[in-house]
Symmetry: C2
């Protein structure tokens, strides 16, 4: 019996083996994220994921039962980061400051987590076959809470009477665009890729237009 098998029985894997597992899972998830981003679920190849991760293909199946399970793990990762990153916006905040900060944070996410952002869009575009629970659960709660905050701001006359959901979707779409459409933006500006300054400038344009569009002073 192997050390790992013994450890599983006793419920405590040796530290070294847990570390190997953690490192390999990280490598595989990273490689899978790149592959699913570039080719979509149907176009992704387990062999290429293995090559990117620097492991034999069989090892991918050792850690993840099948392609679907690996894809679900990548999605879970994306949703976890998403949940952790966007706890902003409470009723006591200044509306202009809170919205400006949210736009800038979301844009930064599009820049630093572009592949994750695109995989998320791909999943939603296919009808969210693996994220229905998340959309109808955590995300719906999040949206309802933020919409309530915006309505309280509106009740206090601190922001224009725009549909809170429409405002949230506007911010999501305008920032997400810089991940999903990065290739188009680069092609239109005759460049190979976008720089940090491009995202920063775009975020400032969005802050300016959206805040003013809601009757708020610039921040």
């Amino acid at each position: 019996m192997s050390a790992a098998a013994r450890a599983t029985r006793t419920g405590a894997a040796p530290v070294r083996e847990r570390r190997v597992r953690a490192r390999n899972e990280r490598r595989i998830l990273k490689a899978a994220e790149e592959e699913f981003d570039r080719y979509g679920f149907g176009g992704a190849r387990m062999q290429r994921i293995a090559d990117r991760a620097g492991l034999p293909k069989a090892n991918i199946h050792y850690y993840y039962r099948n392609k679907q399970a690996l894809y679900n793990a990548v999605l879970a990762d994306i949703v976890a980061i998403w949940n952790a990153a966007f706890d902003l916006i409470s009723p006591d905040d200044d509306p202009a400051e809170a919205l400006a900060a949210y736009i800038r944070t979301k844009m930064e996410y599009s820049r630093t987590h572009a592949a994750a952002a695109r995989i998320f869009t791909g999943e939603i575009m296919r009808g969210a076959p693996n994220l229905g629970e998340y959309l109808r659960g955590d995300l719906r709660t999040w949206v309802a809470e933020r919409a309530a905050v915006i309505r309280r701001w509106q009740g206090a006359g601190r922001i224009d009477q725009v549909d809170p959901h429409h405002l949230i979707f506007l911010i999501w779409s305008a920032t997400q665009h810089w991940a999903d459409y990065a290739a188009q933006i680069a092609a239109l500006s005759n460049r190979k890729s976008l720089a940090r300054a491009d995202y920063d400038a775009a975020a400032e344009s969005l802050v300016r237009i959206i805040l003013k569009g809601c009757g708020l002073a610039p921040r």
Copy 2:
């Protein structure tokens, strides 16, 4: 030798056969659009496209050499409709009216051509491997011309000094969102699908926020 083969040699196919060809190509393209939308290029299956079109699989290959050629035909269709639909915006237009009309038209496109819109997004997200020429050609010209119009408006003090490209991308993303993220919007509002009224209301919110955000009076 068949009538078709004879006709090909003489350069004039009989009317009936041309009609059969046109009808079948339309059916196949429609079925392919649905399939590529639902599953992406890699996940699309020629057999399902054939089933949707009500034809044997071999016939799909008779009209389109392979899967890639069929996908390219679908993309060409999408780009053609796109080019035909958005010739709006000239320097003599009233900025508020022109932008409002563009937002409403683009939103209508997201509603009535949702599958096409999503396939386009998917292609761009994969790095636009089959649309580089279009992006660097027709689309770049289109964007440059519209940006020039916006700059003339700005020179005449008719609209705020916002980056014209950022404004165009904002309108594209905010309207495109209602095609790409329809599943998420429906899930968040606990409904199975979106109605025309949803798109219309969203368009009016966007017109209101974006026009005001650019220093324009509502239209």
